[in-house]
Amino acid sequence: MVVMKQIPHLLPLGLFFCQAIATLAEPPRSVIPPQHRAVLQEHCFDCHDSQSKEGGVDLQTLSFEISTVETAERWQKVLAVLNSGEMPPEDETQINSEQKTLLLDDLSAQIVVARDVLTDSAGVITMRRLNRREYENTVFDLVGVRIEAKDLPSDANSQGFDTSGGSLFFSSDQFEQYLALANQALEAAFVYGKKPGQKTIRRESESLINPRFSRLRTKLKKDFDRAAQWRATNGQQSPAEFGFIDESDVKFHERLHRQQYASYVRYLETPESKTGVLLNKLFNGAVVDTITIPGNWPDGEYVLRARVAALEGSQSKERFLEHGIVGDGARSGELKVIGCNQVTGSISEPQTLEIPITVKENRGFGLRQRQPNSRAATRAAFLQAQVKTGVGPPAALWIDWIEVTGPVLETWPPPSIGKIFFKGMWWKQPDEDTYAREIIQRFAERAFRIKSPSKSFLEKLFTLYAEAREDGVNFPTAIREPLAVIMASPGFLYQIEPAAVLAPESIEEQNRNALPPKELETQPTQSRIAESGEQRVQQSSKRSTEQSTEQSTEQSRELNDLELAVRLAYFLWSSPPDQTLYEIAKQGELKRPGTLTRQVNRMLDDPRADEFIARFSHQWLGMERLDFFQFDAKQFPEFDESVKQAARREVYATIRSMLDENRPLSDLLNPDYVVINDLMADYYGIEGVQGSDFQKVAIPQGSPRGGLLAMAAILAMGSDGTRSSPVERGAWVMRKILDNPPPPAPANVPQLSRLVGKLLSPREIQQAHMEEPQCAQCHRKIDPIGFGMQNFDAAGKWRDKITLQQTAGKRVIKKKAVQIDPHGQLPDGSPFENFLQLRDQIAVKNDQFARGFSEALIEYALGRPYGFSDEGLRERMISQAEKHDGSIREYIMALVQSKKFRTKK
């Protein structure tokens, strides 16, 4: 039976190898189409043929096949001078636009191919240091404490993923940071003694707010009356006699009264203010109801409860309560938003919200009616309403009370300490030193992911402990030292996969001999000063190309079960394996196809996979751009911090839901559902969604939502916080959906400036992009897609018209609203009339999307750039997924089952 079951697995594997061989037989080549030779001949050879070689540049013998760094460098320079307009010289005949566009297009594309070929690491996986988040997770797994390693250098990698071993450097400051963080984690983990009791603190803020507002009301009134008295004198008396500095001071107080007085009166006269806090917008920011956890309560998990209600007559979009941290220096009304809940209770039937919170450095928590996180924006909204009604916007939410209870401790002492003091507390042990040795050894093994540390290493660790003891340090402090050192050792910080598996004896042997590491490669001799540009180019390659082929023949071997478990766990959890996975690996069972499949499924179903989903998607889709800009709160008041967070989570939640339900990857392009919560539903104008949990909802008739292209997060990324950017959006679609990334924006292209200050529609600007071949080569492909998405504004809301502005300096001198014209065509010519058709056209390109997704997945999982030798793997992932209706889960499954994932190279 077992054998029978395995057959289907074997079959595609065989196919895969055939494909791989087929791919390898034809290594990718970067060849500039030969028809361009005529252009070079006509326009360049006069000066740059083999005889003239003006400026040391000979294009006649320059190979049209780019196979070395030197050739790439020369073509790069040709591209550069064409782009900058430096060549052909001004007084020579210019290349005609169409020819030039095609030449630039081919040349830049081929240079990209050449760079990819030349930088291809031939599948070699560079040993990975734990990146910042893996490090945090691994520390948590080891000692049970969540630390924030935000001071470690950022591992964000503009070239790829934060799992890419080659890009994960190690600087000398880092070592000391690791040591300090480990000490911090261990100190926090060493909790013993009596279980701290749970305490509750409750706050009813009206007792503070009402007197304060009452005072303000009285003062505003008094100042206004004084001003009126002075006014009554008709300027006969000096303002000073009425307590003002001068007339402008009088006006100032009158203005304050006009702006604020009525809103305080209304606040205090609203009956609900007697029994609770109204979350109003006021002139000086929003009302935030706060609670502070006393400083002597321990750090940990707590529960925040609040009895709340929505006031009658308030708008549904206002009925969201934000909670967050009131940090030091937070200005009135500002909050570091953590989350957002819809309020469904009413004054007659309030509801009690329960929100889990983590108490660490920050002890002040606040609740606020949802709004842009900027006092200026709140003031603007206040004033806008105040002008109309005289009192500012009414409150939508009411809070009866807030309370915090905790710490919430499920077990005591916490399991973390048991992981370290595995036999119980040291004072109960017969011999502390022996126990110390055992603790060190056990901890090191776990830290090194079940790899035995060498005896001499353990001995040195013990000495650290023993010396501290000799100095009179107590046991828990003394034992912390070696444990922290373990957490700063390479065995912990790197995913070590030796080239060959060493037998245990040989490890011991080597430890005894303690060989020094190999000599560093000698620095290249500083080359003598070269004369011509050509020669300098030749020196640009540090190593000859032959060496790279030599490197690629480095032997590879199959991972053992434990190594596979570690790779798998960091891929799907960004954490070390759990007990179950270790056990299976130790029994040598993990590689059995059935077992591996079951484990992958189990791991994907585990909440720890959420991190994989979020961090992978974030990097794959380039979502760091979402944090590049502050969205203009006046222009996009609804795109506040809560919506931005929810919009980001929508992307992750959608992929999570697809994994859970085995949905096809193509659901990201044109599905009939969205995965949203109450807040996003409100933002999208979709009714009937309740709760802050993300849920699958059918798209109502007439809504343009559905798929990545219509997600607020993706659309907002394609803007600069103020205006939507057809170029950004178009380039993103080319890169992420169509697997056809435009070449990097070229350097030295002259900027278009003659149109500045004119009242032009984006379309007209696009036309200008097409005038210059340097621009047209890419923009003719990118821009039309972006224009197809113009019906979404910078914050991803639908619009039919776009407002053009003509400015002179900062002043807007002319405004005009024009109808959006979304029609266009994809790079392959497929036409579309509007966004919906564009989305349909793109959904047809699911194959391209699947390729890009697979490549990203390979890169993330293997921790190295996608290479040409990975094409076979990519195709197999796609075909295996296709057999399961394109299921997103099958891509992951195919990758994990592949030889590459299971091989150290």
Partner: protein
């Protein structure tokens, strides 16, 4: 592969250091045996000092560069450089320098001081080489408490610097970390530990045992790794080696309290951001020079928060893609503020006495610039050099005849003129003799 000598086990760590870093650390190793100057005894000849200020995204093209036709002393300062008018006689603007391998239009600092070709190594998508400041530090940094000081800003790079942790790259072409806030820089440079000497000595010993221990583990995990992984692990070894060297220096300096200049800068505020942050960093560089804490400084400056602090509401990236209008105004405002801060720094350098009759200004060389010219342009890198440390004949605009003169020619010239004998740097083709008259 070398066989270990029998004596290895006796001085494991030291001999390991020696054997594995023959090329790299030789200049440093000399410093291990080096005994510091008594802190009070001033050197008879003022030391040379080098400061590199990297600004990220480029400048406003038509208003920052002086008219390229006006060369020599007969040139007018541009609008963007106008705030430097008081010091016009003491600075040099150089045009037509660039790094020939630059292709990344958003990387203003990655290769600025190295001139490397990102694609130089087949099979690797990123390569870099040693930066000019680190070459300088190998000799200029020997006699000071800190071999070199790297300053930076916090948060991810939104300022157009590109990959890297500071402007500095070590001999292996790996990034060197920076002190990213004025507070961190202040404490590193000036805060002393109050613990008694004996305790600090004990702490040093402990640090050494810790390094010894992790090296033990590094050696055992290093067995049987692939070539690529061995190279990777070497970063770890290298970092331990650097700490070793630092500890050796620390030991040398253990009984010398960190000094602060008489008019000592105050401990900076935590939340300092934008131009105020740059200003304080300049003050800290100045103070560090005053007490000779280090002679080589690099500063990768914040730009995103810089323009925000000037009232802009756009990002630095957005600014860098200016066209006529609001974005260009921000870019110009930034140019001016930057020049103003540099002018203030120069003023202070001139007002601070150094050895003999000289001032700090006389003995240092400060370069402000970026690998990015403006927008996406990568040729003619904006470059201003000031300070009397290298004997440059200031008061001129120098326009290089070859429009693609390697920026590394400037670094090579500054190195040699600062007494750091160097034959070539990066892709240099020779020194810029015109600098010196």
């Amino acid at each position: 592969m070398n066989k270990p000598s029998q004596k290895q086990s006796n001085h494991g760590r030291r001999s390991f250091l020696r054997s594995s870093s023959a090329v790299v650390a030789l200049p440093f190793l000399e410093s291990l045996g080096f005994r510091k100057h008594a802190a009070a005894a001033e050197p008879a000849v003022a030391p040379k000092r080098l400061v590199f200020l990297g600004m990220g995204f480029g400048v406003t093209r038509d208003t920052w560069f002086p008219n390229i036709k006006q060369t020599g002393s007969d040139y007018e300062l541009s609008e963007g450089l106008q705030p430097l008018a008081d010091h016009k006689q003491d600075l040099t603007v150089i045009q037509n320098l660039s790094n020939q391998f630059s292709t990344e239009a958003h990387w203003g600092s990655t290769f600025w001081l190295t001139g490397a070709n990102r694609y130089a190594e087949p099979g690797q998508s990123f390569y870099n080489s040693v930066s000019a400041d680190q070459v300088a530090a190998e000799s200029l940094g020997r006699d000071t408490r800190f071999t070199s000081i790297q300053l930076g800003h916090k948060g991810p790079d939104k300022s157009g610097h590109g990959p890297g942790l500071s402007l500095a790259w070590n001999r292996q072409g790996k990034p060197i970390a920076a002190l990213n806030t004025p507070v961190a820089a202040f404490h590193r440079l000036f805060s002393d530990d109050d613990t008694p000497l004996a305790e600090r000595q004990a702490a040093l010993r402990k640090k050494r045992s810790v390094l010894d221990t992790v090296l033990e583990n590094a050696r055992s995990v290093g067995r049987g790794l692939t070539q690529t992984d061995t190279d990777k692990l070497d970063e770890y070894f290298q970092s331990i080696r650097e700490i070793e060297i630092r500890l050796a220096k620390e030991e040398d300096w253990l009984d010398v309290p960190k000094t602060r200049p008489q008019q000592s800068p105050k401990a900076p505020d935590e939340g300092l951001e934008g131009f105020e942050e740059v200003k304080v960093m300049y003050d800290l560089i100045l103070a560090a020079m005053q007490v000779d804490a280090s002679r080589v400084f690099t500063y990768r400056q914040p730009l995103d928060t810089f323009i925000t602090s000037l009232g802009a509401t756009i990002t630095a990236h957005n600014m860098s893609h200016y066209s006529d209008g609001a974005r260009k105004e921000v870019s110009q405002m930034r140019d001016k503020k930057q020049s103003e801060l540099l002018a203030r720094f120069i003023g202070k350098l001139k007002a601070t006495p150094d050895v003999g009759d000289t001032t700090l200004f006389d003995n240092c060389t400060v370069t402000l610039g970026s690998n990015i010219n403006s927008i996406h342009y990568l040729t003619n890198c904006p470059t201003v050099v000031t300070g009397g440390g290298t004997g440059i004949q200031h008061g001129r605009q120098l326009v290089m005849q070859d429009a693609n003169t390697p920026l590394c020619n400037l670094w090579l010239s500054l190195l040699n003129a600062s007494g750091v004998k160097t034959e070539s740097h990066g892709d240099s083709t020779g020194q810029i003799d015109e600098l010196f008259g």
